[in-house]
Amino acid sequence: MKILVAEDEAVSRRMLAKSLERAGYEVICAENGKQALEQLCKLEGPRLALLDWIMPELDGPSVCRAVRKRKEHTYVYMVLLTSKVSKQETVLGLESGADDYLTKPFDAEELRARLRVGERILLLEDRLVEARENMRFRATHDPLTSLLNRGAILDLLGRELHRSARERKSTAILLGDIDHFKQVNDTWGHVIGDEVLAEVANRLLAAVRSYDFVGRYGGEEFLVVLNSCDPDYAPSRAEQIRKLVSNPPIQTAKGPIELTMSFGVLQSADWGPRSVEELLHEADMALYEAKAAGRDCLRMAKPGARVETSTPALPQPVRRGK
């Protein structure tokens, strides 16, 4: 584990560094408070720090305060080294954000014991962060395909539409549905159906750029959001994605299965400032047209093609694959 030793006095710095190296730490040294803060602000910087109270440039408590202001970063466990022992000074040190303090000259065994306390706290933080990230992932992702779930993809689409309107760019929305998916389930069973859904998800993800979004919209429906997509380019990109999903046949435990997808495609630039619900409704209508045209194809949603209503209906799940 990395540890920062910030101490302006060379004998103490070397003594501390050596003692910590013996204890198995990877020691990084700083000769003043400014250098210490720079090290602690690095992305992969040390998470354990021993800071001398009095240092040039920036003293130990000031370093603690600066580190604690960066709320979005991982926790740094900081121990102040001090010859100050009054109650008032101890309180000042801890109030600045230090987790502990050690009086000089330090005792090597006590120092290591106190650092082990810090390591336990950091480990606990790691576990909490991991648990929170797992919960966040489960709340926003579909467990079968690991794609964004409906709520998460709609949320991202809403933000993307705002961004593209602000930057005068266009977002392409592709609403896709696996053709005759019910037959896959009826013929091969739900386990194979799940295999097919997972593979379709993989193919969709592989077909888009790293900054595009793919989500599972419903049972066998998927929503693809192509960010900053040139309107002239959107139909051909959508066609490309559609073909990539269909070819080659999907390998399953019960052999290869041929399947196709239909898509309704919409370019946000063609529709002006509309809500996510309105745009999805139009994409859904275009998808319906693609199904009606024999499936295995895409249709572009066209502004002005329908009589508009003041309160458009929310998109309803349509079991077109049946």
């Binding site: 003594m15 050596k18 001398d52 330090f106």
Partner: protein, 124 residues
């Protein structure tokens, strides 16, 4: 090596405490003494200049640093003298600085021969 006959609790050089602190690592001890040999005269000169100039801030900072260095090396009496200087500087007692500097210089003069005598012992 400690020939401290002073009634003060501190030793001129508490060698045992230093050895304990470095886990009896002779190589590290040699390294630390080499750092001390290089830094101590330079810092002492700066301290003397700060006292002569009546620069309380620099006097406080330098005596604090010297105190830490000496404490780590077991130079307890010299460290106590540096602590006295630091305290006077921080509380603005400029008039008492010269006497306190003299006391510090005397303690340093007692310590240095002990450390220098020890270096060949380490090397040996």
């Amino acid at each position: 090596m400690n020939e401290n006959n002073s009634p003060l609790a501190e030793a001129v050089w508490n060698q045992a405490a230093l050895r304990e602190r470095v886990d009896h690592d002779e190589e590290l001890l040699r390294e630390l003494l080499a750092i001390f040999d290089e830094d101590f005269p330079r810092m002492t000169k700066s301290l003397e200049a700060a006292v002569a100039d009546g620069d309380l801030k620099s006097t406080g900072t330098l005596s604090h640093t010297l105190k830490g260095m000496l404490l780590n090396l077991g130079g307890e009496r010299a460290a106590a003298a540096a602590a006295k200087l630091e305290s006077l500087a921080r509380t603005g007692k400029e008039a008492a600085l010269n006497d306190a500097l003299g006391a510090f210089q005397r303690e340093a003069a007692s310590l240095l021969p002990e450390l220098k005598a020890y270096v060949p012992e380490v090397r040996g």
